[in-house]
C-alpha cells in the first residue's frame, strides 16, 4: 500500500463491525432486502459463523463469550476492507461480529459480499472470513455448561 492509500484510509473513520450478543437472522434478512435497489448486483455470498456445542472432556460448550481490542480490530478491519475492494470487483461488503455472550446455535459472525458476477463475491467472502479469523484481535472464551471455561483456539 502506498502512502496516499494509507492516508486516505486513515482519514476515514473505520466502520463499526461489533454488535452486542448474537446476530439475529431477521437482521440478515434486512441486510439482504436492502440490496434489491442495487440492480447491478448479480450474486451475493454470505458466510455465517455459528457457535458449536462442542463436547470437550465430557463437558459441553453452552456459549462463547467474545472480547476484542476494539480500536485495533476496527482499524485492521478497515485495512482489510480497502485491500479486498482493490483486489475484487465488489459492489459492497458488510461484516458483523458479536461481542459478549453468544449461545450455542446462535450466529456470531456475518460476512456479506456482493458483485455483478458471482466469482468476485464468492472469492472475496472466503478471503475476508480467513483474514478475520487470523488478523482481528478478537478472543472467544468457551463457556461450559458447568460454568468452567476454556479459551477457544482457531484452526
Amino acid at each position: 500500500m502506498d502512502a496516499t492509500t494509507t492516508n486516505r484510509i486513515m482519514e476515514r473513520k473505520p466502520k463499526n463491525i461489533f454488535t452486542q450478543g448474537a446476530i439475529d437472522p431477521a437482521f440478515i434478512a434486512e441486510s439482504i432486502a436492502k440490496h434489491s435497489t442495487k440492480t447491478d448486483i448479480g450474486g451475493h455470498s454470505i458466510f455465517l459463523g455459528q457457535v458449536r456445542a462442542d463436547v470437550i472432556d465430557d463437558k459441553k460448550v453452552a456459549a462463547i463469550e467474545y472480547t476484542a481490542y476494539e480500536e485495533l480490530a476496527l482499524e485492521k478491519m478497515h485495512i482489510i476492507r480497502e485491500e479486498i475492494f482493490s483486489k475484487y470487483e465488489l459492489t459492497c461488503m458488510h461484516v458483523h461480529h458479536s461481542l459478549g455472550k453468544v449461545a450455542a446455535g446462535e450466529i456470531c459472525l456475518f460476512v456479506f459480499t456482493s458483485s455483478a458476477h458471482r466469482r468476485a463475491a464468492i472469492d472475496a467472502c472466503n478471503e475476508v472470513v480467513e483474514r478475520i479469523k487470523t488478523e482481528l484481535p478478537v478472543w472467544g472464551k468457551e463457556l461450559f455448561e458447568d460454568e468452567t471455561h476454556q479459551w477457544k483456539v482457531n484452526r
Binding site: 459463523g49 478478537v138 482457531n154
Partner: protein, 75 residues
C-alpha cells in the same frame, strides 16, 4: 505513565489494565510484568505499542499504550 492492556486469557492472569511508571522499553516492561505475574511466562502473545504490533525491543515514551495479545480466536 505507560498503560498496559491485557486481553483474552492474559486478562485472567493480570487483569484488563495496568499502569506503570518509568519504563523505558518493552523489554523492561515485559520483565517487570513477568516478575509481577509469573503465570505470564507460560503464555504466548504478541505485543502492540500504540496499536502497532512490534517484533523486537521498542522504546517507550510517556502516555504509550502497550497491549499484550494472545492468539486470536474470533469468528
Amino acid at each position: 505513565m505507560i498503560t498496559v492492556l491485557f486481553f483474552g486469557k492474559l486478562a485472567e492472569i493480570a487483569g484488563a489494565k495496568a499502569e506503570l511508571q518509568a519504563v523505558a522499553s518493552t523489554d523492561e516492561l515485559l520483565e517487570q510484568l513477568r516478575l509481577q505475574y509469573p503465570a505470564l511466562a507460560a503464555e504466548k502473545y504478541i505485543v502492540a505499542v500504540d496499536k502497532k504490533t512490534i517484533t523486537g525491543n521498542t522504546s517507550l515514551t510517556d502516555h504509550c499504550t502497550v497491549a499484550l495479545l494472545p492468539p486470536f480466536s474470533g469468528g
